[in-house]
Each structure stands twice: as C-alpha cells, then as structure tokens.
C-alpha cells in the first residue's frame, strides 16, 4: 500500500482548468433545464385539465431542449475555449462557503445534453403511444420531464453541490417512475429500494463534498481541479472512494447494484431512458468529470477498474440465468456500465473511450428496451422469454431493430459496440503489468458471456418454436409512434459507433482537465490480437447460445447446478442485504421502540411517580382538573417570589 501511495503522489497534476463566461447564445444554456422543469410543473399543477394534451407538451419540451442542445453544440464548436460557465445566482453564501447556482457547458456536458435530450425525445415520443391506455399518462410525462430537467442539471452544474442537486433530483424522478404504478406493492417496494440504496451512495458523495470544502475551501469544479494536486494521497484516495460510492449507487455497480434490476417494475420507457440510457450512466459522468481527482491517485484508479471488472462479470453471469426479458436487459446494463467504469478507471485516453461506449450504449440499449416494450405490447405485457419464440414473423420492425441492438451490444462489426467496447478491452490489456492480464481477461470473458446471454435472449424471443401462453393468438406489431423511434435508434445502433469512435475522443480533448497526463505503457497484447480474440470469443458465445437454444427451451423452471442457481438468485447479493442489513435493521428499530417506551419513558414516568409518592397520585394528577394545574402554577409562582425575597433579604449573598 505504502509504495503505491507514494507513487501516486508523483503523478503529474492535470493542466490548469479555466472556464470562460458564457455569453451570446450560450448565455441561454439555463433554458435546457428550465423548459422541461416548467413543463413538469404545468403538467402537475393543471391536473386532469391537462390530460388531453399533456403528453404532447411533455414531448415538445424535450424536443425543444434537443433543438436548443444542438444549436448550443454548434455554437460551442466555434469557440476557442470550449468550456463556458454561467452563474445564475448565489445559491449558498455563508462565511467562506460559497456555492454558485451555476452551469458549465463544455464538450463533456454537451455530448451528455445531446444524449439526454435526443434519446430522451425519441423515448418520450414512444411513450405517448405506450402509455396511451394508462389513466396516469399526464402524471407520467410530468415525472419524465422532471427527470430530464434534473438530469440536465446534473451534467450542467459547475460545482459539486449543483451536481448533488441534480443527482438527488434524478433519484427522486427515478423513484417516482419505478413506483409509477403505486397500487402494485412490488413497484412501490422497488421504488423505495432504489431510493434507499441510492441514498447510501449519496451519503458517500455528500461526505466527499465535505472533504473538498474542508481541505480546499471550495466545491467549484475549476477550483477543486486546480488545487487537487496539493492534497495528500490519502485525502485524494478517501475522497475518490467516496465519490466512487456515490457513482456505484447511481450506476448500479458493485456493491450497490441490487436496486437496478428491481427498477424494471416501472413502465418500459422508464427502463429505457432512466435505467439504461441516461441516469444510470451518471456515475460514469461523475468519475469522468472528476478525473483530475481520480488521475491523481493510481490506487484509486485500481479500485475503479476492479469495481468495473467485477461488476461487468456479475452482470453477465446473472443476466445469463434470467428469463424475464427486462431483467436480462437490466443485468446487461449493469454489465455494460461495468465496462464504462473499467474505461474511466483506466484513465488517460480511456476516459474518452468510456464516454463513447456510454453514448453508443445509450442508443442500443434504449433501442432494445423499447423493443422489449414493443414485444410486451404485442404479447399482453408478458415478459417471460421462455413463453416467447418465433416473433420475427409477427413483428418485423421490432425484430430487425432489436437485431441491430443485439449485434451492437455483442460488439459485432460494423455495429456500434464493436467500435466502442473493443477499444476498452484493448486499453485494459495496455496497463503495462500483470494486471493487464487480469482486467483484459475479465473484459474478454465478459464479451463472450455477453454474446451468450444476449443471443439467448434474442433467439428465444424472435426465433425458434412458439411457446406462447394460450391466451395469445396473433401478436401484433406496434403502431407507428412506437416503431419510428425504434427504427431511428436501430439506425443509431448500426451507424453511431463508427461516427462516435472517430469524432468524440477528439471533441472531448477540449474538455478542460479531461484525460490528464498520460503515461505510456506497453500493451501486453497488440491491438490487432485483442480485436481478433474478442471477436472469436464473441462468435463462440453466439454459437454456444444458438446451439443450446436453437429449438427453444423448456417453459418451466428446470433444476440447475450450483452456479446457475446462484445466478438465478442474483449471486445471493439480495439474500446478503436482507440478512445483514434489513433483518437486523428491523430488529434494531423494534428493540429501540421497546426500549424507548419501557426504558427511557418508563424511567421518566417512574421518576415522576416516585416524586409524586406512588403511581396512585400520578393517576390522580392526570384527571385533568384545571385546579390541580392552577395549584402547580401557583406553587411555582410562590417559589419564584420566595426566592426573590430571599435574595432581597440578602440570605444568599
């Protein structure tokens, strides 16, 4: 440990971070947050009066934000210093603690804005139809808009308190949308679980912010990044680990991953937007944004890489054992974000790779979730892939677009995952020591497992024999409003990878402080070798899944070995949480309630009874006769007067 820490201190601090003031068109960047927020407020306040048109207002608000986001993007491209900030007002100003209610619009924020509003717009559009028969559709769009506003604040804040503001805001929106169908106990419980596990992470993030203020006297990004070099390695490590805890909570990474699959209780568009494409990647954003902190300590980076590698494998193993189409996708999200953590943990140029994968994943995962929703739409809201099969003939558009998503996630050339995931694997092999084999190996293994479980999911849903329940006779393709977003996202899954991989890293280099000084290491495997190996492993996974499931699968649970049983039970992580936190917690609260009533209060009442000369007299006191209180007040008053007289007379002097 000791030698690692000293090594870390020797690392070069990042170059000076300086933000220019936002003016001209970019002075309106606050509109990005304000428009969806206003729309949410209108939808909530107008109530039923907005039921007829409320969803269109919701769509329009996000559409407008997207258009604005695009124009801001092009405006930013023409600037010399591509990091502009806008102070709106003094949020907190107490003593030396000053927090700006301010926004920062830079290349990193800009790509997030485009992802959130672009993919968000398509999913909003899709939801108009998906939620058409739900009486709570207006409320749904209100929460959805609230989410977009909070998420944009999260990525646009110019300090850690603003980030925390948006961070908890998206947590609220996520809670509201997971438990959207509140009358379902499972949904209400899942929402609560998500919020609570997130709050554990949030507490970590909060303490990290306290450390910043205590050591650096500020929470503004530029000031923190410029002075982080003056901190001791231990402080950086502790602060970074706490930030990582926050990131793990929001992004469903080990050890706070358990809430994310349960979050699938929410409507499918929610799963697509919040629990796949955007909110759950906020942890990656946090680490990328804080990279001057993470780059300053190699132990810290090692922890991030380890969390990423471990989580990507956990997600794969559990995803392979699930039969619920949305849960498989949820675990695949956990796993893919593991790849992103791996990327941001590697640091240097891999930061940009992680962001590229994040964007590509936003497209193909949103695509597949909406595809799953389309399948459910046609199959009476069923989710069990053992009871699907042969749907390619009935839902051509859903099938083809889902296929694009499947090929993208497994990293098949030329789909987007190939361009975004494979470079991360290669970077994992380029750490320069034995850990290259460890993390590179995990990433390659994950690629093979991903190919396996995603092929299983794809094949069991769209091909093979029909294994439908009896009440389904003719599944239908979804209406235009749902298929158009699918087609657009499908195109994104196909084409976005190459475009992103070639343009985004360059674009991101203009982000002040991103990347930092990179040390060159020799890769233990050449890039070509890594590409060949990962494609081979992927093909192997696909073939194995196809071979096992080409004729469908049993429609009821089958006995399984130790590994599969464990995977079905989420590797016992839920059981662990229940046994270690939930049950003792409930016992503790019960014990304390007993203690408080009998112990502390009993002591008080006993004392009162003792002074009053037994419980009989206490009971008489409680008859509520005014005169007894009058007597006690009178006694008190007499005591006062007597005391004063005593003083006057000089007895106490």
């Amino acid at each position: 440990m000791e030698h690692i820490l000293t090594y870390a201190q020797a690392a070069e601090p990042a170059g000076t971070v300086a933000y220019a003031p936002a003016d001209g068109l970019l002075g309106n960047v606050w509109l990005l947050v304000a428009i969806p927020l206003l729309s949410a407020a209108i939808l909530l306040l107008l109530g039923k009066r907005a039921d007829r048109w409320g969803h269109w207002l919701g769509v329009a608000a996000v559409g407008a934000a997207f258009v604005l986001g695009l124009s801001f993007f092009f405006q930013l491209r023409g600037l010399e210093n591509r990091s502009v900030e806008l102070s709106l007002w003094d949020f907190i100003a107490v003593g030396d603690f000053r927090v700006d209610f301010g926004l920062l619009y830079d290349p990193l924020a800009a790509v997030f804005v485009l992802l959130i509003t672009g993919v968000g717009f398509l999913i909003h559009l899709y939801a108009v139809e998906y939620m058409a028969h739900d009486e709570g559709r207006r409320r749904f769009f209100a929460y959805f808009n609230l989410f977009v506003a909070a998420m944009l604040l999260l990525v646009l804040g110019n300090n850690y308190v603003m980030l925390y503001f948006g961070w908890e805001g998206v947590g609220l929106a996520s809670y509201l949308l997971i438990s959207f169908w509140t009358e379902r106990p499972a949904a209400a419980t899942a929402g609560k679980k998500a919020f609570l596990m997130n709050r554990v992470g949030d507490a970590g993030l909060a303490i990290a912010i306290f450390i910043m203020f205590a050591t650096l006297g500020t929470t503004q990004y530029d000031e923190v990044f410029n002075s982080v070099g003056g901190l001791t390695a231990t402080t950086v490590l502790v602060m970074g680990l706490l930030l990582l805890l926050g990131a793990a909570g929001k992004s469903g990474q080990f050890p706070l991953q358990a809430w994310l699959p349960d979050a699938m209780e929410g409507p499918t568009p929610v799963s697509a937007l919040i629990h796949a494409a955007t909110m759950v990647t906020a942890g990656v954003y946090l680490i990328a944004r804080s990279n001057p902190i993470f780059s300053a300590n190699s132990t810290l980076q090692l922890v991030v890489v380890s969390v990423g590698a471990l989580t990507l494998l956990i997600g794969c193993v559990i995803g392979a054992a699930k039969d619920d189409i949305k849960r498989v996708l949820a675990w695949s999200t956990v796993s893919q974000i593991g790849y992103m953590f791996l990327g941001v943990g590697l640091g240097g140029a891999a930061y940009a790779l992680a962001i590229v994968h994040l964007l590509a994943h936003g497209f193909f995962k949103a695509n597949m979730f909406l595809g799953a929703g389309s399948v459910m739409h046609g199959m009476k809201d069923q989710v069990d892939i053992r009871r699907f099969g042969g749907l390619s003939k009935y839902m051509k558009i859903t099938w083809l677009t889902f296929m694009a998503g499947w090929l993208a996630i497994i990293g098949m050339f030329p789909f987007s995952g190939f361009f975004s995931k494979e470079p991360i694997i290669a970077a994992a092999f380029a750490r320069g020591d034995w850990t290259s084999w460890l993390f590179g190996g995990a990433a390659v293994l994950g690629a093979g497992l991903t190919a396996f479980y995603m092929t299983r999911l794809y094949w069991l849903t769209f091909h093979g024999p029909k294994r439908w329940t009896e009440d389904i006779d003719h599944p239908h393709e979804s209406p235009l409003l749902m298929t158009v977003p699918l087609i657009l996202l499908g195109i994104g899954s196909l084409g976005a990878g190459f475009l992103l991989a070639t343009s985004v890293p360059d674009w991101l280099t203009a982000t002040a402080g991103l990347g930092g000084a990179e040390e060159h290491h020799d890769a233990v495997l050449s890039h070509t070798a890594v590409t060949v190996i990962s494609l081979l492993v992927t093909a192997l996974g696909v073939l194995l899944a196809w071979y096992l499931f080409r004729n469908g699968t049993a429609t009821s649970p089958q006995p399984a070995g130790v590994v599969v049983t464990a995977a079905r039970k989420n590797l016992y992580t839920d059981a662990f949480n229940v046994a270690v936190f939930e049950k003792p917690g409930i016992f503790l609260t019960r014990a304390l309630v007993y203690l408080d009533n009998r112990g502390i209060d009993g002591l008080v009442n006993g004392l009162a009874a003792g002074i009053g000369g037994g419980s009989g007299r206490l009971r008489r006191l409680q008859t509520g006769f005014v005169r007894s209180y009058a007597t006690s007040i009178l006694t008190g008053a007499l005591l006062v007067v007597a005391a004063f007289l005593a003083v006057q007379a000089g007895w106490l002097a």
Binding site: E183, A203, V647, L652
Partner: protein
C-alpha cells in the same frame, strides 16, 4: 417606520385578538374563526413590515424597547430582535394563520367551546412572540413558562386519544425544566449584579465553576424543550395527542424556543462553559439523529412518527449549534425555520389525512393515494422536504450543518450524514404504507376518504409548499439575515472558522 414599536405591538396584538374572540357569543363560532384568522393575518402583515424594516447590515439587536416593570429587582419589559429572533418571529406569523385555517373544524368534534380554541391559539401566539422578542431574561422566563398554559389546554381539552396523559406529561416535564432554568436565572441575577438585561449580563465575568452550573441550568430546560435525546419522551405523546394544528405549532415553533434559548443565552452568556460542554451536546445531538430516526422507522402512528422525525431534526440543529462554525450555526438557525415550514406542513397534512380516516394508525391506511391523490401528493412533498431533498428548503440547512460540522468534527458529521439514509427510510416507508400499495377496502367505506383536498385545505398547504421551494432554490435572503447574528454569537464564544487545509486555493485559480 423604524421607530415603530414593532415587538411590543406584535406581542400584545394577538392577546387583544384572543380577548375579542373569546367575548364573541358561543353561538357564533364561524364569526370567532373569521375574527381569529383576520387578526392573525394582521399580525402577519405587521411582521412582514418588520422584516422589511430590519437592516441586514445594521446593529445586532434592532427594534429595542424597554419599559420599567419591577424596578427594585431590575426587571424590565425589554424587547429586541436579532436576525435569529426575526426569522423565528416571521415563522410564527406565517404558521399561525395557516394553523387557524387548517383547524377550522377541529374544535367541533370536541364538546368544548369553539371560540375558546381559537382564542387559545392567539394567546399561544402572544406567548411565542414574547419569548423570541424578549431581551430581558426575567421576561423571557415568564413567557417561557406561560407559553405552556395555552398549549396545555389545547392538548388536554381539544386533543385526541390519551390527551390528558399527554398534556400533563408535557406540562410537568416542561415545568421541571423551567425550575432548573429559574434557579439558573436567579443565580445569574445574583452574580451578574442584580440585573436581568441581556446586554449587561453578556459583559459579566463569571467564575468557571459557577458558569458551568448556570449553563447547565439553562441547558437542561432548553434540552427538554427542544427536545434533545434523552429528554424527548414527552414529545411523541404530546405530538400524538395534540390536534394537528396545535402539534404543528408545538414542533414548528414551541420546540425552537429550546434551540433558540441555547443560541441566545447559553452560548453568549456562558461561552467557556459552552465550549466545555460542547462535546457532550454534540454527542446528544448525533445520538438523537440516529436514535430518533430509527424509532421513527418503527412507529405505527402517523403523528408519533412525525414527532420522532422532529427529534431527529433537532439532533441536526443541536449539532449545528455546538459545532461553532459559521456554516453550521447559520445552517442550524435556517434549519429552525425550514423545519418549522416542512414539519409544520407534514403535521398539517397528516392531520388532514387522520381527520378523514378517524385514525392515526398507519396500518389503518394502505393505497390511500387512489382515493385522495392530491392529499397523497402533498404528503409525499412534505416527506421529501423532511428528508431534505435538494430543491426543498431543508436541504440547504442540513447541508450547511453537515459541511460546517465536518470542518471541525469529522466523526460527528459522518455519523450525522448517515441520518439522511434513515430519513429516506422513514419517509418512504410511511408513504408506502399509507398511500401506496393495494387499496385497503375499509377506506372506501369511509365517507371522508373519498374527498380530496378542498379549497380551504389547498389554501393552507400552498403557501408552505411555495415557501419550501423558493427557499430551496434561493435561501440567500434568509441566510443574509441570520448570518450576522450567528457570527456575533461566534465572536461571543471566541471561535473562528478553520481555514481550508490546503491554502491559497483562491489565489491559484482566480
């Protein structure tokens, strides 16, 4: 306008209103309510005028008035307000009209006089204003004790289940605390040269031993009032039995007298003792945060649950006060205001729910959101404010308390931060068990549960929601008022904020 005797007029005005209300014929209950409401709105208008007149960068104490009362003993009717008192006076003026409006039908279910109920609320307002406006320690003590009387009758005569037990417990508990304070007041008068004037007493040098005893006398009274762990057991009983409106005032304002008293009396008058006792007080605060939050999770009675959340919040305030930093102190005072708004709202909306159901037991609810969606929404919002979600006012105060404490005492701040997880647990579980999940069939058969918030109730909750949101995004107008008073208190006890451990940050970047 600045020469207008705001504080004495504000103190007396509600009392006059109470006399008018109580003289109205018992057969005209509606008129009594209207007069009470109108009167409290006048007090609000006057308070707003005072807020506007207050000069943020002016003297520490403003609006000072002094009239002789008992010259032999040096007792005067002295009033003055610093930023802390001003904020609390504003909170009282805002809450009382809302409570009167919220309690519109509360007194009807009891067999007691309706006008008297509203008169009692106005009497309570007089005593509450007096206790925050007093700048003479004897006057403060008198208001401190007299305040118990109207609240005693509000709980004991108009309360719910076990109201007598709760009222007596509240009264005796506070009275015991008051006796400790009385002893300390007299002691202070003796060592302080036979004066009760705050300014004069704050100049007096007291020997260490005496100072600690006097501090303790005041502190016990205030710790019972607040209440801090382990003096808290009266609050769940009182909060559970009191009518919702009175409960909102009880936890929203009355309990703040405890924390206000510590800030106004314990710290400036006994600075050395305050520093000596600070570790113990911090420990009580942090235990309270965790302990009361765990107890709140385990409650099956809505009003008791809210009472326990309050105890946890008072733990935060206590920690903020005894951390002795600008951020923590300002955060604590802001917390006193925000807690009054948020928990006031929570108590009022819980009252609306309980009034409909005829029961405060959580297990008697279930799925109520289906029947009363707006009410459930407001309950949820109040819960969010209670768990200090960013965007609601309590976030700013809680964050200030924690960050200010962290700079001087890391373990306390870190343990207190765990309280935010527990806060999420008690709020969300309460919301889940009452308004979410499958609809309890018993609810559909109850007439009241089919009616969502009416206009009167919306008018009650709307101002609080707006204030909580506005102060959640822009707390500066209030922190600017509080800050100088807190800094003056810091000077009194001779503490300054620690500098960041890595110096020269600002120069390097800006």
């Amino acid at each position: 306008m600045s020469n207008f005797p705001f504080l004495s007029v504000l103190t007396v005005a509600p009392l006059v209103g109470a006399l008018v209300v109580v003289l109205l014929p018992r057969s005209r209950p509606v008129l009594a309510k209207q007069v009470a409401l109108g009167w409290s709105l006048l007090v609000l208008a006057l308070s707003v005028a005072m807020w506007v007149t207050f000069q943020v960068d002016g003297d520490r104490f403003q609006f000072r008035e002094s009239y002789p009362w008992i010259p032999n003993w040096g007792v005067n009717f002295t009033f003055a307000a610093d930023g802390i008192a001003l904020v609390m006076l504003m909170l009282i003026a805002i809450l009382v009209p809302l409570v009167i409006l919220a309690s519109w039908h509360d007194a009807e279910t009891s067999k007691r006089s309706v006008p008297v109920y509203f008169a009692l609320l106005l009497v309570l307002e007089t005593t509450m204003i007096g206790v925050f406006a007093a700048a003479d320690i004897f006057l403060f003590y008198v208001f401190f004790e007299v305040m118990l009387v109207p609240m005693y009758f509000l709980i004991g005569s108009y309360g719910g289940h076990q109201r007598q037990y709760a009222a007596v417990k509240f009264f005796l508990y506070s009275l015991v605390g008051g006796l400790f304070m009385l002893a300390a007041v007299i002691g202070l008068w003796v060592v302080g040269g036979k004066t009760f004037d705050w300014v004069a007493l704050s100049q007096v040098d007291i020997t260490t031993g005496t100072e600690r005893w006097l501090f303790l006398g005041f502190f016990v009274a205030f710790a019972i009032k607040a209440p801090f762990f382990p003096f808290h057991t009266w609050l769940p009983d009182a909060g559970g039995a009191a009518p919702a409106g009175a409960a909102a005032l009880l936890v929203g304002v009355l309990d703040k007298v405890g924390t206000f008293g510590i800030l106004r009396y314990c710290l400036p008058l006994f600075p050395e003792a305050a520093k000596w006792f600070a570790p113990y007080a911090l420990a009580l605060g942090v235990i309270g945060i965790i302990y009361a939050a765990l107890l709140a999770v385990g409650q099956n009675d809505l009003k008791r649950l809210v009472s326990y959340t309050s105890i946890a919040h008072f733990g935060f305030i206590g920690v903020g006060i005894f951390a002795f930093t600008t951020q923590a102190g300002t955060g604590a005072v802001l917390y006193m205001l925000n807690h009054g708004l948020a928990t006031g709202l929570l108590f009022l909306v819980v009252g609306m729910l309980v009034a409909r159901r005829g029961s405060a037991l959580i297990s008697d609810f279930g799925g109520a959101g289906k029947l009363v969606p707006v009410l459930a929404g407001v309950l949820f919002f109040a819960g969010l404010a209670s768990l200090a979600l960013p965007g609601t006012a309590p976030f700013v105060s809680e964050f200030l308390v924690l960050i200010g404490t962290f700079t001087v005492n890391k373990p306390v701040a870190v343990i207190a931060t765990l309280g935010i997880i527990l806060a999420a647990a008690y709020v969300l579980w309460m919301v889940q068990r009452t308004t979410q999940g499958t609809l309890n069939p018993a609810l559909t058969e109850i007439e009241g549960m089919r009616k969502d918030l009416n206009l009167r109730e919306k008018v009650v909750v709307a101002p609080l929601i707006v204030l909580i949101l506005v102060l959640g995004f822009y707390p500066k107008p209030v922190t600017d008022v509080i800050n100088p008073a807190v800094q003056a208190t810091m000077t009194d006890i001779g503490r300054t904020d620690p500098a960041p451990t890595v110096g020269g940050v600002q120069e390097a970047s800006r």
